[in-house]
């Protein structure tokens, strides 16, 4: 099987969908001749032309708003934010115009908003944020957070074919860090289904995005210590695969909730409530969280390293949990 980086996988999925459906087009800043800030659309302009690869002024609200309007006319826009942080500028269009359209007047908004999120690249407070919860908390939006190249390709294709607005968060630290074999042929990965990234018996590490890799490293180390940790990769945050979470915790009776996003109001809270509601009786220990602290993402390396959840922090909590 050919191999691809996380970035190439997204690029392939997007490319294939544009080849497949003439209504799919890309819109954003510097996505054309330049090929996008992270080069995800490199070569698209040459292949699909300026009609289907639309360079815009620096106007995130207009990019998302225009995508919505185009979707009403039967097109399938894929909008790019140069950094997920700038989605704050398009907030109204996403959470009010797009999210509520189907509910209030029955008009679907089949758009995808691609946004590179997450830290670990020395981006500082405004190029490293994890904005997922603003949108997970907005009924009407779907939020997808692939951790692997395979899923990234399969999910971008599903997102483009989905008839609801999808926020597709690409973890920028993974773009070139991971390289995997991915199948030659056409495939998709369903939105809304979690994946057991590693089977385990003693505790469940529930996570998503780049933290899946941290969890897997930790699980490997824990195995050596005789602790069998299951790693659940949520893959999609909205809709949330609550069944998969409950099933895993029901099996292991211990839950460690892990995310790179800041703590208060992060997804771990929702997961904790959901676990308590569904499998409380199976819990043998408190639900624990490993997350970033409630601060902006600092720039300087020692601070950013302390900010990001590390394998060590996961190990400490996991050992505590296993002993409990």
């Amino acid at each position: 099987m050919p191999t691809a980086t996380y970035l190439e996988a997204i690029r392939q999925g997007l490319w294939e969908e544009m080849e497949r459906d003439p209504n799919v087009f890309v819109i954003g800043e510097d996505v054309g001749v330049y090929g996008g800030a992270f080069k995800v659309t490199e070569g698209f302009y040459e292949r699909f032309g300026e009609k289907r690869v639309v360079d815009t002024p620096i106007s995130e609200a207009a990019i998302v708003g225009a995508a919505i309007g185009a979707s009403y006319m039967g097109l399938r826009p894929v909008a790019e934010m140069q950094f997920a942080d700038f989605i704050t500028c398009a907030f109204e269009e996403l959470v009010n115009f797009a999210a509520k359209s189907r509910y209030r007047w029955g008009a679907p908004v089949p758009i995808v908003v691609r946004a590179p999120s997450g830290g670990g690249v020395h981006g500082g407070p405004f190029h490293s944020q994890n904005p997922e919860m603003w949108f997970v908390h907005t009924p009407g939006l779907k939020v997808v957070t692939p951790s692997s190249a395979y899923d990234a390709k399969g999910l971008i294709k599903s997102a483009i074919r989905d008839n609801d607005p999808v926020l597709f968060l690409e973890h920028k630290a993974l773009y070139r860090r991971i390289k995997e074999e991915i199948p030659e042929g056409e495939y998709t990965v369903p939105i809304g289904k979690a994946r057991v990234a590693r089977e385990g018996r003693d505790l469940s590490i529930v996570t998503y995005g780049a933290m899946v890799w941290t969890a897997l490293e930790a699980a490997e180390q824990l195995a050596a210590e005789g602790i069998s940790a299951e790693v659940l990769d949520l893959r999609t945050l909205a809709p949330l695969d609550r069944e998969a979470v409950s099933a895993s915790v029901k099996k292991t009776s211990r839950a460690l909730l892990l995310h790179e996003d800041t703590r208060t109001g992060g997804l771990a809270g929702e997961l904790a409530a959901s676990i308590s509601e569904t499998v409380f009786e199976y819990l043998d220990a408190p639900i624990v969280r490993v997350t970033a602290p409630d601060t902006p993402v600092p720039y300087s390396t020692p601070l950013e390293e302390a900010f990001l959840p590390s394998m060590q922090k996961v190990l400490d909590k996991a050992r505590w949990l296993a002993k409990y």
Binding site: K51, A61, A62, G69, N96, F97
Partner: protein, 332 residues
């Protein structure tokens, strides 16, 4: 013999247009009077109520020139656009009353209505948020090689929003086929024009976007119609966006609960003399386009139509609470 036969051939068309305009403006006026002065006070319509009293010429004059597949983005004082696009008065009343026969089946209220089958996209509350959406719809029409265009209405106060700026600029850079219609009624809620912008006209903003802009008397429906006709030719011929600023006045409070104490009374007096409906009737009489009886019977017919529509709406069921969570996503 009926008046229309007496009309010199050269004027037949204009006379017929005038009749149409009078009908839609008067229907809108009557419906909004019922909503604001009856239904709202009776508690049959809840929440915010915004009417276009005195501004009927703007949605009427423009919507009558639009082609059936042009996509409309009316704002909150443009009811005639819905009527002209075939929204029945009963459906509109039902919308205001939160009934199942309303355009949003009770999910949203008042002018927040639309229907892709009628090629009308509803506003959200956030002013000017539709402007980038209209720009995108226009870009899509161009993408598909359609000759249709988008038409988007907004008030002068809405031009202060970032969304307005970004949408107008994007459409201009993209040469998207969209006609921008500004109702400059000189107030935004209680805020007068001079506190909204430091230029005299909304049209003055055109050059900053390479956007051709013109000013028209928004209380003269035939003038609005003619300006829109020319503008649509321009836009349709792939020349890019065009802006028409319609000077008018809001002959009411901002919404049903607002008595507009902040508006100098003399402004109301002055502008009442320019009421678009009265003006059109006078013109029609002067030109011999209509006999007084015709106009009377038109109004009588409207009263009847509105009574029936109201009865329809009041008979329409309220939504079933069991449907509360339906349709947030496709798979529901």
């Amino acid at each position: 013999m009926s008046a229309t036969q007496a009309i010199p051939t050269g004027q037949r068309e204009e006379a017929a247009l005038a009749h149409k305009c009078l009908y839609y403006m008067s229907l809108m006026r009557e419906m909004e009077d019922r909503i604001e002065r009856k239904l709202y006070r009776q508690g049959k319509v809840l929440g915010g109520v915004y009417v276009g009293r005195g501004q009927e010429a703007i949605s009427t004059g423009v919507a009558l020139v639009a082609q059936p597949d042009d996509v409309l983005f009316p704002s909150h004082r443009d009811m005639a656009a819905f009527l002209i696009r075939g929204f029945s008065p009963g459906r509109i009343f039902a919308q205001y009353m939160g009934r199942m026969d309303g355009a949003t089946r009770g999910r949203d209220g008042n002018m927040h209505m639309g229907d892709l089958n009628h090629k009308i996209v509803p506003i959200v509350s956030a002013l000017a948020a539709t402007v980038p959406v209209a720009a995108g719809a226009a870009m899509a029409l161009k993408y598909k090689g359609s000759r249709n265009v988008a038409i988007c209405w907004f008030g002068e106060g809405s031009t202060s929003l970032g969304h307005w700026h970004e949408g107008i600029n994007l459409a201009s850079v993209q040469k998207a086929p969209v006609l921008w219609i500004c109702n400059n009624n000189q107030y935004a809620y209680s805020t007068p024009l001079r506190q909204q912008m430091a230029c005299a006209n909304v049209a003055d903003k055109g050059p900053g976007y390479g956007l051709p802009a013109e000013i028209v008397d928004g209380n003269d429906v035939l003038a609005v119609h003619e300006a829109a006709r020319r503008a649509l030719e321009f836009v349709r011929s792939a020349n890019g966006p065009y802006l028409i600023e319609c000077k008018t006045f809001r002959m009411t409070g901002h919404s049903a609960h607002d008595n507009a104490h902040y508006v100098p009374p003399e402004l109301f007096e002055e502008w009442s003399k320019r009421d678009p409906i009265k003006r059109l009737e006078a013109r029609m009489a002067a030109e011999g386009w209509a006999e007084p009886e015709e106009i009377e019977s038109l109004h009588a017919a409207i009263l009847k139509e509105v009574d029936e529509a109201l009865a329809f709406a009041e008979a329409s069921p309220l939504p079933d609470p069991a449907t509360l969570t339906d349709g947030v996503y496709e798979s529901q």
